[in-house]
Each structure stands twice: as C-alpha cells, then as structure tokens.
Symmetry: C2
Subunit: 250 residues, 2 copies
DNA sequence: TGGTATAGTTAGGTTAGGCTAACTTAGGTT
DNA sequence: AACCTAAGTTAGCCTAACCTAACTATACCA
C-alpha cells in the first residue's frame, strides 16, 4: 500500500498543509473546511484526499473526518515549517506586512529546497537575533554557514540564551508544533490534537491529554522514554510510544 | 486581437523567458532550442507558442522563427528581472553556489510579486554594496525601505558611485538588457538583437546596429529623442522611435 | 532537379486539478 | 418512525501541459 516515493505537487502540498492547520486549530479536518481554506469546491477536496490517501499520507473513510498518518503528519509539519520560515524571512528581513508575507509565503514555500530553506531560516534568525539597531556582521553569518560556528574572538554574535549556551549559532527553528515524543524538558505548550484511533486515543484523552490543555515538560528520561509532564496541576508519565500520538504546540 | 488581460502561467512564463534568453544570446529563438532549454519535446513548444501568440506576446509564422512583440518583450524582461533578482539574493546573501542559485531561482521567480521583488533586489544590492566584511546596518536598510532614503548623518551607507551621487540608496537594478531607447548617457554595452521586421529592421542593421556590436551612449536629448551613440568608432544619431527596436545588454 | 536530412507541425492520448449537477448519507426534528 | 437538511460523494466535463507517432516543409547538395 501507498506510493510513498513520488514527490507531492504544489497543490497536494497545500491540501496537506491545510488539513494540518485545521487539525491544529480545531482537532478535526472536515471536507467543507478544507474546501473553504483552499478556495475550491468540495468535490475537488474529495479527489485530493483520495490522492493523498493513495500516497499513504492520510486516512479517510467516506463521510468521516480526514486523519493524518504518521508519514502525512511528518510531511505536513515539514511544509508548515517551510511556510513559516519563508514568512518569517519576509517579515523580519524584508519588512513586509504580516498579510503580505503570509500570502507571498504560500507561493514561495513550494519552490524551496531543504538546503536553501535552512539557510533562509538561519538568516532570518540571525537578523532577528541581532536586532534592528545593531550592526549585522554578514561575514560572521557567512563564516557560520560555511564552518558551522561563529569565528573565534567574535564579540557580538547573536543570542546566547538559555537553550543555546554553547557557541554554535542561532537556533534556526520556527517550528509550530511537534509530537510530544520529541520535546525537551522545560518546554511549555498546548495540546493540539491526538492522532491515532481507537483504544490508544481514548486512553490518552482519558489521561487528560485533550485539545487545548496546557502542559509543561518536567523530565525526559534518557532515550526519551518515559516522558513526565505537568498537566492541570498534576504530573503524568507517558511512554514514548504513547507520546508520539500527541501533537503539541509550543 | 490578443487576450492581454490574463496572467501567464508558470509554464508560459518559462517559455517566454527562454525565448528571450535565446534571442539575447543568438538573436533567434528556434523551436528546437526552446525545447532543449525547457527540457520538453518540440510539439509542446509549438503549442506553448500558439498560446503565447494568442495572448499577443509573440508572433509566429509556421516554420519560421519566433518573434517577441513589444508587449512580449516587456514581460519577458520583467520575468528575467525577477529571476536575476532572486538568484542574486541567493548567491550574495545566502551564499549558495552559482548553480544552486540558478536552479532555485527558476522555481521562486514565479511566486514573487513586484513589491516583494523590489525589496529583495534592494536588499541584495544593499548587502553587496556593504561588502562582506563590513557591518551591515539593518536599521539603515529598513529606514530606506520605509522612507525612501538613508537616515541623515549616516556615515557608512552603500556605494555613492557615479550614477547615483544623490544620496537616495542602492541602485536596485540587476537588469540584464533594455531597449536602446531607455538608456542613459555614458552607458556601454552590446547590441543583443533588433526586434521588429521589414524595412525598419533592415535600416537599423544597415546603420551598423548588428548583434554583438559594442556601443557607448554619448548623449541623450531631453525627452530621450534623439539618442547619440558611438559604434565601431563613428557616431550615430537615432530617433527614439527607432531605438526602441534595439535590444541591448549593458 | 530531385533527394534527403532535419526542423516543425498535426493528430490524438494522458494526467492533474479544477468545475457543475445530481445523488447519498448521517444526524437532528417533529 | 419518517423526514429534512447539510455534508459528502459520484459522474461527467473542461483546460493546461505534457507526450508519441506520423506527416510536411525547408534547405542544402549532388
């Protein structure tokens, strides 16, 4: 099952991203809503979903909601990541407005390869970290790009904050959401949705992992198993195999 | 005649750009060559040309070479302009290689609106002008973007060279070619091709305006008419109405 | 002056991604 | 329990952009 190999078309990438964003916001992705955000009619959505399902990225029983598979969730996150990287560059470097950046990013995000994306992200991050009023040492940036770290004896390099006290550079992350299984201690966030079906899903929900609940990661054991979080005041310990079904926003 | 209104698809933009580049390099655009650079088969080219012709962007008699109309030339130049802006940003800011930038630009160029293009161009120009080893005052850039000029009392702003001795900023041009009618005195360049047909074209060629000839603009009268250029050692005076048929590279 | 190679075109087929119109399903109302 | 409405699906059609195979025009050469 599933034609995993083939790259997604722009259009299918957009559908996948739309489904992902809808789930993030309202836990479910309905055909009607997808049609609305994509600005197409419902039959087009049905067809697109069929196509995504054939590639193993979504699961869909007729007349039911659309579910992302593991693979689909990964790819969707990747697309959203590109989108927000481009958008972030457009706003913080080129100083375009929020709306302009948003709409422009929709077009550009499909045309950008991972390598370039990475550079763009780092650059936007670098610029943001420098702040608008400080001089920006482009040579430091290039040095970082080429050698993986800032030049020695560099006085004014970007943020040296809590998470990145080692001297290797801006974070280059603009991730919007992850699985609870990929999270680091200290992180706070919100439960977005629980993927998967049946008993596992039910069990997780009963543990209080419901959409919109706020949580904080307390401890992550070596190898990421188990994960201890604080939720609604009490502590909860989860196996990694369970946590991976929980999509969270940071 | 001509459905001028409708926006070009990515694909048609690519065809138009390819035709333009071929003419720039070798004066003629043949179906076979277009097919080669576009990496498609000849029948696809024939069809694309038909479609461009229907929009009034090219002229094409069966079995003859493809000619750009005025409108087509303008749009082609615009596309090439976007392409080189994006590419220039990728190389000079993100430090991607020549080839990577080239191929990446092909994808991005279609997704970029004029406003954003302008910013991108200015930014790349700004960065290049600053040089890699100088500090880059992003706040100056933003000030320029927002107010049209550099802040007062700004010591180290980018190039103040010949053409732009007024203090209003980087040139923001990466133009590859123009009409001879749009040129400024002092410019040197090469004749790329002569558009138009019949007697006008013949006359211009006879005046020595042949592909690859090098020229220098001596004087441009007010309102741009006439234009005096130096060519093969002697001087030549052209009416604007003639000069607009001559495509030049600077 | 015809013959052939190469360039270009036409005819007809495929796939992706849209659409409208008409049908089906599921879920709430009475 | 029957029915109605809104959501979703199916069927059938369209356009853009590609393809292959087969036909035609041009130009050059002996």
């Amino acid at each position: 099952m599933a034609e995993v190999g083939s790259r997604l078309s722009r259009s299918l990438e957009d559908y996948l991203e739309a489904i992902y964003n809808l789930k993030l916001r309202s836990q479910v992705a309905r055909v009607k809503d997808i049609a609305h955000v994509m600005d197409v009619k419902m039959p087009s959505v049905t067809e697109a979903i069929r196509s995504l399902a054939a590639k193993g990225l979504v699961k869909h029983e007729p007349y039911e909601n659309v579910e992302l598979t593991d693979e689909g969730l990964d790819q969707a996150r990747d697309i959203a990541h590109r989108h927000s990287a481009v958008k972030s560059f457009l706003t913080s470097v080129l100083d375009l407005s929020e709306e302009e950046s948003e709409s422009e990013a929709c077009g550009i995000e499909h045309a950008i390869r991972p390598d370039t994306l990475d550079r763009l992200l780092k650059y936007a991050d670098f610029v943001r970290a420098c702040g608008q009023n400080k001089a920006l040492r482009l040579d430091h940036f290039l040095h970082y790009i080429r050698h993986g770290q800032y030049p020695d004896g560099c006085g004014s390099h970007p943020h040296d904050d809590a998470n990145h006290s080692h001297k290797t550079a801006p974070a280059a992350v603009a991730i919007e959401s992850t699985r609870l299984s990929d999270v680091t201690p200290g992180t706070k966030g919100r439960i977005a949705f629980v993927s998967g079906h049946g008993p596992i899903r039910k069990r997780l929900m009963e543990m209080g992992l419901t959409p919109d609940a706020r949580f904080e990661v307390v401890r992550v054991a070596p190898l990421g198993d188990p994960i201890e979080i604080k939720l609604r005041g009490y502590h909860l310990s989860l196996r990694k195999s369970e946590a991976k079904y929980v999509e969270v926003q940071l």
